[in-house]
Subunit: 344 residues, 2 copies
């Protein structure tokens, strides 16, 4: 570690994740020399709070990356495809929160507690995984290392904020419309979300899976370096503002008791086990919002099949699922002396 | 079928399910000679609408079953344990919506589309299964008959009304409290339900499963007559007023394509397939409330494992999950000439 300081750009700084990225940089006292907030022209001139002062939003353009060491992108896949390469050419290491680069074989897809080593091979762009993937791979890695993974099945309970501030706004607009007896809005989501659950996140593929489900499968396999791992996801949007919840089933190579699983999960970095059923202690969204950890509860052995465990995973999708994982990757790059773009 | 008419008592007539039982008897033109509404002393004298007139609530007591042919119970397990035997002794056939008698080997546990024949062995009491079980066993029976069942895994998204009118009231009180910045109530549910998901329905057992999850496993095995079927449930309360939703995974004996599964499910009584992903057609709670059918969508083959299917099941928990299934059992008893209590 040096005492060098870095120029960090946040691309999409006015969005739900962008604002949390600024907050995480501040809260972690990330060694910044300068923070730059980049966004679309309509946000230019807005002032965002940072470290007791303010950062003025500048327009996102190719020229904006001059002098930037680390660029945290969270402005959607199209912007990432358009600007990430330019940022790298200007000398910035890009940590991208969109799905644009995740499955590119040259791009590391990283959850630091799980596969930090993959960072060393980066060629300028590093991808932040999907929010629902990140919180699941932590317990999968812990259990897989200890007992071996044979199969994974997950059903998700994903909050409105996964679709950004617009998703949160539409949820609460729907609640107000319900109160006043008006038609509920459904522009951000395919159907009204208030007081309902929608089994569609993203678009439908020919296989019948949605793009969100496909991301969870592919990204999990890549992060765990288990390209053949049988895994399936059902991704559901629920009327919760913030925090994703997941019901996970794993078939293991070796039988594990719930107590053994609790032990293994408790000692894994970034995981907090909240699991005392006798006292009705288990994680819910309300407990986990604003926290950077991933919370695991409801750990139990299958009632019939030895070697099968079920558990419940909750995390703040805007923090570990997005902003915190990205800033954590930046911290890893600094610690590993990899804040530079390889040439050639 | 005769043109005989029957005296029907609804026990717990003022509750969320009891009111729907009255509505179902009316809507189905069930051949009643007289309807009696029984409830606790505090509701006595209330008048409930029925078939253009009104029924006055009488107090639930042992004597109240004199002259009753069919008694639909939905007043909780304690009332069922206290009064079902007396009702049978007075000559009534009891159709009980509580969990009190479901696993009694002498009590048929019936979903008419699945195991109507089991009714013939009744000895006075017939049990209505758990709401979350009923809507799942319809597609399980259809797929099991066609392709063979090897394993079932379900994660549920269960609405507040599963806890009765008090559950619905607490959900909306929580929404109001959230609006005004007050503390959210959690008396009916263990934690505040508004804008959160609670992975606890019922009490915790020593196994780590909840009583609701255990019910789903046991009841599914009993209804399908598959006592060894490996099956596991994770039951979650979601901030939806009415309608239960379920994400189900089945491992089959024989591989089935999604198209074959759709065909089999479409031709099963009581099931409506709503599954055109290209047009974003799939069931949500809003579509299914007030309907007696069970809706299935998101039918797809596993991306890796041949013989594994995933699907999404939605139904109105107060209708097919409770009141309609009970009235449907009563219709079956009439059709099969079994509205009588065997002696001896």
């Amino acid at each position: 570690m040096t005492d060098r300081r870095w120029t960090v750009a946040v691309v999409g700084a006015t969005g739900a994740v962008g604002r949390e990225m600024l907050r995480m940089l501040e809260e972690r006292s990330f060694p910044v020399s300068r923070v730059r907030a980049l966004a679309s022209p309509r946000s230019v001139g807005r002032r965002l709070p940072f470290a007791g002062g303010e950062v003025e939003v500048e327009v996102l353009s190719e020229a904006a990356f001059e002098g930037v060491d680390i660029a945290l992108f969270s402005a959607g896949g199209a912007r990432s495809l358009e600007f990430a390469r330019s940022a790298v050419q200007a000398g910035a290491v890009v940590i991208d929160n969109s799905s644009a680069w995740r499955m590119d074989p040259e791009v590391p897809l990283v959850v630091p507690e799980v596969n930090e080593d993959a960072l060393d091979a980066h060629r300028g762009i590093i991808a932040n995984p999907n929010c629902s993937t990140i919180q699941m791979v932590l317990p999968l890695k812990a259990l897989g290392d200890a007992f071996g993974l044979r199969r994974v099945i997950v059903s998700t309970y994903q909050s409105a904020s996964g679709a950004g501030q617009g998703g949160i706004d539409e949820l609460f607009a729907g609640v107000e419309a319900h109160r006043s007896g008006e038609a509920l809005p459904s522009e951000v989501f395919a159907r009204p979300l208030a007081f309902d659950c929608l089994p569609q996140i993203g678009d439908f593929l020919d296989t019948g899976y949605t793009s969100e489900e496909q991301k969870m499968l592919e990204e999990t396999r890549k992060i765990l370096s288990m390209p053949e791992l049988p895994s399936s996801a059902t991704c559901v949007r629920v009327p919760v503002a913030r925090g994703h919840l997941e019901s996970v089933t794993v078939d293991l190579e070796r039988r594990a008791t719930a107590a053994e699983a609790r032990e293994v999960l408790s000692s894994f970095p970034g995981i907090v086990v909240m699991d005392r059923p006798g006292e009705m202690v288990y994680p819910v969204a309300r407990d986990c919002v604003g926290r950077t950890e991933t919370f695991v509860g409801r750990i139990r052995e299958d009632n019939a099949l030895p070697g099968t465990l079920h558990f419940w995973v909750v995390s703040d999708n805007l923090l570990k699922g997005a902003a915190w994982n990205a800033v954590q990757i930046a911290e890893s790059l600094v610690a590993r002396d990899r804040v530079s773009v390889p040439r050639g």
